[in-house]
Point group: C2
Chain length 296, copies 2
């Protein structure tokens, strides 16, 4: 039996599943203080093991970041400089050690990318990018069933887009001001216009500005990783009409320079919404646990 | 005996070497018409085999691009839309088939990245990026001895940097106008100022503009690939003082957000010149041939 934790800033989704990633029990636990949250998580896994009369073989964690994702590093599974002060320095490895099974950690977006590659939009995509646009902007990448990383997970949410013509907003990122996340994540939209994008009329300039920035992200992902598929998820992407505007902007930037069957005219097949919807995260966490078993 | 071809727009460097990549014969052949150039290349390899009384086991090609780098695709080893019209559609596999050994093809920058990882700046760098700034701008990436790619090799030279404050130059890229290559490759510098960067006084604004754009590239590579080392090569990088300016700009953009031992204060160890100098290309080609043997 596999365990999975999708750890977010406000809630953790926990689940157990069989080797086909079919979920037999799932719960949502608020992300409060680490002691309290981990007690609830461990309690969930203990009950699930006894109710299913089955032992866990591994736990996969798809976590908010920044988080240590290098299994060879001493800080593997440690949460770094999050604004959630009580969670700084918290280690999933340490906190989950009493369960007594291997714990594999990656980012929430790498987990979601893995889930989408296995089940969703990217079934035939050897390399797939998963983007979330919500309280932050994150990008995960998988190639042939393995999350990609360098000395750390990627931080593509902080690239510097060209400023949209009519946009003078100073940006909200504490580290970079007007990087992509500072200009185009949910909080930036609300700070600029006083309401979420989905509440603004379709002819409001906010839609074009948002599509401009996210179109530049799609362009940048294509040039830097040439993935076979780009999946756009997260709360902001639920705005009606947004993905169509992003495709148009991205296609204009690409200018026909890169050619491949994956890059269809109009990008309808290349840039898609998550097929697993909000399930990408927890299924990704379970898939990380399964990949861990396969490695042993 | 390994064969290597570093294929550039004006000349091809060819060499043979042993399994330690120690070169025993090398020649430079002008890149003219494909028939003529390949006849000279094949002639070089035939003479080398007879002179060394040794058979080639594989040929590695580090080529100008765009070029097909996916061994599973039907266009593997084919040159795509180059401005060198006679070379469009030319296939290294076809042209070198009479030598009768496996031919492995990658980009010139992926080859150089591989060479620098094996011998040079990136000895301890599991993931390494090699940038060339010359007649174009290209970026190669290797991880643990393997070149990285998605549906094609990457095209990071065409990212869209923010415009430097005082720069109104329209850009030279036929596909994107003022993308990075259009703004910061050698021909853009000469079109803007009438002379190469290295001929302009160190207080000329051209130096700061160039460093601004290349600093954004270093920033973008770090966010999108988190490599352990970034090597900056090519003709423009021979300009005195340029790498120091680039480090300063890149460090300011990074804003301390990503933390890792590889990212030293000042980036002196992180952003370096090629340790192999102009030899990176041909040694990379030979290393591709060696990697091909190891795969079999």
């Amino acid at each position: 039996m596999l365990g999975g934790i999708e750890a977010g800033g406000t809630k953790c989704v926990v689940a157990v599943a069989d080797d086909d990633l079919s979920i037999s029990a799932q719960a949502t636990i608020p992300t409060t203080e680490p002691d309290e949250t981990f007690a609830s998580i461990i309690n969930f896994f203990e009950r699930a093991q006894s109710e299913h009369a089955s032992d866990l073989t591994a736990i996969g964690v798809a976590s908010f970041g920044p988080v240590g994702v290098d299994p060879a590093a001493s800080n593997y599974g440690e949460i770094f400089e999050t604004p959630k002060l009580a969670w700084r320095g918290v280690s999933y490895q340490d906190r989950l050690s009493q369960v007594g099974v291997p714990v594999i950690i990656d980012t929430d977006v790498n987990g979601a990318a893995l889930a989408e590659q296995i089940y969703g939009a990217g079934k035939s995509a050897e390399t797939l990018a998963y983007v979330t646009v919500g309280t932050g902007i994150g990008v995960g990448l998988v190639k042939a069933g393995k999350p990609l990383s360098g000395f750390s997970h990627y931080e593509m949410g902080h690239i510097l887009p060209r400023r949209a013509e009519s946009d003078t907003f100073e940006g909200l990122c504490p580290s970079h001001g007007d990087c992509l996340e500072g200009l185009a994540a949910g909080p930036a939209i609300e700070a600029r216009w006083g309401q979420p994008l989905s509440d603004l009329n379709s002819d409001h300039p906010a839609h074009d500005i948002e599509a401009d920035y996210l179109g530049q992200l799609v362009h940048s992902i294509t040039l830097t990783h040439a993935p076979h598929s780009i999946v756009l998820g997260g709360g902001v992407m639920k705005t009606e009409g947004l993905i169509e505007r992003i495709r148009a902007k991205a296609e204009r930037h690409l200018g026909g320079y890169m050619k491949h069957a994956a890059l269809d005219a109009g990008l309808q097949n290349y840039v898609t919404k998550p097929k697993l919807g909000d399930k990408s995260g927890i299924i990704g966490a379970l898939a990380l646990a399964r990949a861990c078993n396969a490695d042993e």
